[in-house]
Amino acid sequence: MATTSIQVNETPLVLYLLRRADDALILGHRLSEWIGLGPILEEEMALGNIGLDLIGQARSLYAYAAEAEAAGNDEDTFAYLRDAPQYRNLLLAEQPNGDFGQTMVRQLFYSAFADPYWRAMTASGDATLAAVAAKSEKESAYHLRHSSEWVIRLGDGTQESHARVQEAVDVLWPYTGEMFECDAAERTLADGRTVIDPAPLRDAWDGTIGAVLSRATLTLPQNGWMQSGGRTGRHSEHLGHLLSTMQHVQRTYPGAAW
């Protein structure tokens, strides 16, 4: 493997696959950063397990992207040899872990989307995507339940935990709108029933988040302005730092294996 970044021919399908794979890889990597730092042993295992599910989902999607692009790239080159502007993940996924509460709020926001998203995608006209979706929706349902329980416990906990988790909700809120976007490339695929338009999932997401925040005695932000750009490679500063750690070995020792 070379050290220089690869070029990817982003047909609508390849671009779509990289977007979803990047969401799962970057969030999975963020969760793996908790290994050795978890607040309690059980949560350390939980964060590692959720990360493992997500990285497994990413691998299936990258493998399909490699097949669809048919240009010699594979799971590893997609993960290790693209720079930040070539990554297509949601800004939400790359946001730093913060404290445990912030990690759980980020997970709740993502899983409350991923759960209905992958369930709807099981009806995809593309057999490979439908198969990935059927596995991912089961895993996402479990992640959603776990993160909801923690957000409720922390929100309805002490004054300190309530204040911290409310701040996490407010900080991460502007990154939640991007999940429901559907650009021209994705529209083409949606028209062909390969993918679904995520916009109609907004009601389900609002319902889940509303129910959880209400039980958690937390306030739903009223700010309607949303940041975006991850899908086209305009990322926050955080992604570059994450990639410099994740890609370090392959960039320094090309093709290293064990």
Binding site: M45, A46, Q57
Partner: protein, 165 residues
């Protein structure tokens, strides 16, 4: 190869691979778990089809390795292992025998009906040691992707619960 020869080879291969154990829960075979989906003969060669429990299950490479070894031990060469994602694995595929073996091993077997989708509420799980239903969850995630950690409030023993999926 005549159809009769092919069927004999298929049965011999099935016999060889169905005893391969899950590396992380060695009391269960891949057949008990429902990970083994099919053994077929394609162009005169054995093709074994398996499916992962979870997307990121790290045991899949090891299971493939063990299947190749089992075929070799049975004197069957040139076998292929194929991994499929669809239909998605569910704990409902676990055999009755597998559930009994799990319980004897100290792991509470999964409830029928697959994974639940409700956001709130708790499951009722029986203690594999004393049979009591007075149990509570300690952690929704355990030592492998497919298990959660529970404790019995009657006999006070912690135990693994094989998550419904």
């Amino acid at each position: 190869m005549t159809p009769a020869d092919a069927e004999a080879l298929r049965l011999r291969a099935l016999q060889a691979v169905k005893g391969v154990c899950d590396p992380e829960i060695p009391v269960l075979t891949i057949a008990d778990l429902g990970v083994l989906r099919d053994v077929a003969i394609r162009d005169g060669r054995v093709e074994v089809t398996i499916t992962p429990t979870y997307s990121g299950c790290p045991a899949m490479n090891m299971i493939q390795f063990e299947i190749e070894m089992a075929l070799d031990r049975a004197g069957i060469g040139g076998g292929q292992v194929r991994t499929v994602l669809s239909p998605a694995w569910t704990t409902d595929w676990m055999t009755e025998d597998g559930r009994r073996k799990l319980r004897e091993y100290g792991v509470s077997p999964p409830k029928p009906g697959g994974g639940r989708r409700e956001l709130f509420g708790v499951e009722e799980v029986e203690c594999p040691h004393c049979g009591s239903a007075n149990t509570r969850v300690l952690s929704e995630f355990g030592s492998t992707s497919c298990k959660a950690l529970w404790r019995c409030e009657d006999c006070r023993e912690p135990f693994d619960y094989f998550k419904c999926h």
